[in-house]
Each structure stands twice: as structure tokens, then as C-alpha cells.
Amino acid sequence: MPDKSPLCDESDLRSGANAVITKLGRFVPLNDGERDALAKLGRNARWLRRGADLITEGDKPVSVFLLLEGWAYRYKSMADGGRQIMAYLLPGDLCDVQIFLFEEMDHSIGLLSDALVAKIPAAEMLDLMDQYPRIERALMWATLVDEATLREWLLNVGQRNALQRLAHLFCELCVRLRVVKLVDESNTYALPLTQVELADTTGMTTVHVNRSIQRLRQEGLIVLKNNELTIVDFDRLAEVADFNATYLHTDGPPVEQKLRSRLRLPI
């Protein structure tokens, strides 16, 4: 994004704020005051370059990062140069709400694309949660979904075959990006990932990633061109991957609403 100034303009900020509001609103229905409070979190956001680390293993975390645009990833590096990617963070995602409670980071967070990122001081985050308990609960739901996602990723590297690993990842990203309206009606979304990054995510070599992508193409399941992925037949890809989107909690009424009606509690 060479033409972007490091400071963001208002439209960037609006779409980024909308992403976090939409995302947290999937968990707990939010009122105007809560939406405004969330929108304010992004006010000091800046554009940062692909490849930069937001925070590195060993650092003392003092703030939370809110991703307004672009992609980030959570990873750990090995002494011999190996790397495992443990999560993708997409627009509207807060990178570890409780991060500042760690003495030091046990992993790193880096940028997979140029990204608009707001750095929220720990005090502000704590204050927000004290003031808006429903936002705090929405963040708790988001953390639970992050954990469920991590379990699926564990299943990916531990049990699924090469083809399934990529198929599962592509389905998951599609569902997650759909929430923040980054997937068009033909099931196409920007995939700012290299084969090396896909390999480090799925525990494969780039050669195996490449072969698996070819196979998914030949089967008529995906089109991948210029970092844009189209899922041609979502149901069939989901079947290949053994993908069930329930863990992402993106369908139906907000999660908290469903829980309360199950428990016969007022909303």
C-alpha cells in the first residue's frame, strides 16, 4: 500500500470499526453506547507494512492490538528456522484481549499484509471492560471461538490429510471473512498468503501445498489467481475437508441470545 500515509483516513476507520462491531455483535447484541465505545478503540490506528511484527515472543505486552484492515498471524519460531503459524487474525479481530496479563509473550504476532492496526493500552482495555460488561462478555465469546478454532487447527495438522488441511482452511476463512463482508457473492475473497505461509500453517512443505492446490483446482473446487481465492463449490469443498462451521458461531442469532433463551434468562 505504498500510497497510503501511515495515518488512516476516516473511511478506513469506519470500515474497520464496523468490522469489530459486527464481529462482537455476533456474540452479544450491542446497543449504541457499546457500539460507540468499540468504534473509539480504533481512533489511533496506523497503517503498518506486511512482514512487521506487532509483538515478538519474549516482549512484555502492554497493549492489545485491534486489526481494522488486513491480516495478521500468530506464530512461534524454532531455533533451526522452522515456524508454525497458529492463527490468522482478520479485520475486526482483537489480538488476544488478555495479552497484557502475560508476563512476557510466549509467541509472536506479525502482519501477513499491510494492515491498519490500533494499539490499545492495557488501562483503556480494562476500563472498557469495566464500563461495558456486555462488551467484556462478547470478548469472552470471541476468545472461546479462538480456542475452538485452534482445536480445529490441531485436528488439521494432526489428523487431516494434505488436501483436507487446505480445504478446511479455505472453508474456515470464507466463513470468517463473510461475517465482515469480505467475501463477494461468488464466494471470492482476497487471500494474501504465500505458499510458504500456507505450508507453515498446515505443517506441510511448499511442494505439498502446491500439489494439493493443483488437486483442488483440478477437482473444480477452487480457483486461485493473483491472491484471490474463489470457492467454486463450497458444499463439496466442505465435504472434502470434513468442515462443519458450527465452531465459528456465525449463523443465527447472537450466541449470548441463544444461550439465554436456552436458560430462560432475560436478554
Binding site: 533451526d80 528456522g81 522452522g82 512443505t205 511442494v207 500439489r211 493443483q214
Partner: protein, 111 residues
């Protein structure tokens, strides 16, 4: 079918190692056009499978060699690709025996 006849020059430095290494050509199923493979053995035990990247989709990497799998050794992180089977075999053998895989380049079987 033995693909690489190893350099049988009896130098003190390489003798033991040469006696212990061998390579076999084979075909491999990869769900792609990549089908030429070499099995690398040390002391009669399979330690690595090398594969020639032949599928069009590999783009610039086509024609290079890849360590498809390793066995029984901690190979750690390794280079993705090698210009030739000999380079890949050398890397494996350096890693396992701290010596190059001394092939007989004249017979041209290991590319």
C-alpha cells in the same frame, strides 16, 4: 535397480561411508506429474526419498529436486529445493554422515 554407482576410489577418508551408501531409482505416486524418485540408503536403511519436481505447476522450481520424506533422523528444518538429485543427496548425507554423498558423476544416473 541401482541408480548411482558410487565412487569406488578407495581413499581412507571416504571408504567406510562409500561402502554404506546406496540409491535406488523408483517411481512415486504424488497425485501430480512428479513421479521420478530416488531412495537413499545408508548402511542398508532407507533414510530419505528424493523426488524430481516435474509438474508444470511448480513453475520455476520445475526440474529441481525435493526431499519428499526422511526416516529415522531428525533432519530439522531443511532447504526446500535442490538443483539436482546429487545436491539433495549431498545435503542428506552431509546431515547424516557429515560427508558428501560421493557419487560417480560420470555415469550420469543421478542428475
Amino acid at each position: 535397480m541401482i541408480a548411482g554407482e558410487f565412487d569406488q576410489r578407495k581413499t581412507a577418508r571416504t571408504e567406510t561411508f562409500l561402502a554404506q551408501t546406496s540409491a535406488y531409482k523408483t517411481r512415486i505416486k504424488t497425485d501430480s506429474a512428479d513421479s521420478n524418485a530416488l531412495l537413499l540408503l545408508v548402511a542398508g536403511e532407507l533414510i530419505a526419498i528424493l523426488v524430481e519436481l516435474d509438474d508444470e505447476s511448480h513453475g520455476e522450481a520445475r526440474g529441481q529436486w525435493f526431499i519428499e520424506a526422511t526416516f529415522g533422523m531428525n533432519f530439522g528444518s531443511r532447504p526446500d529445493l535442490f538443483a539436482s538429485a546429487a545436491d539433495a543427496a549431498n545435503w542428506v548425507s552431509q546431515h547424516v554422515c557429515h560427508r558428501p554423498f560421493a557419487l560417480n558423476h560420470q555415469n550420469g544416473e543421478l542428475r
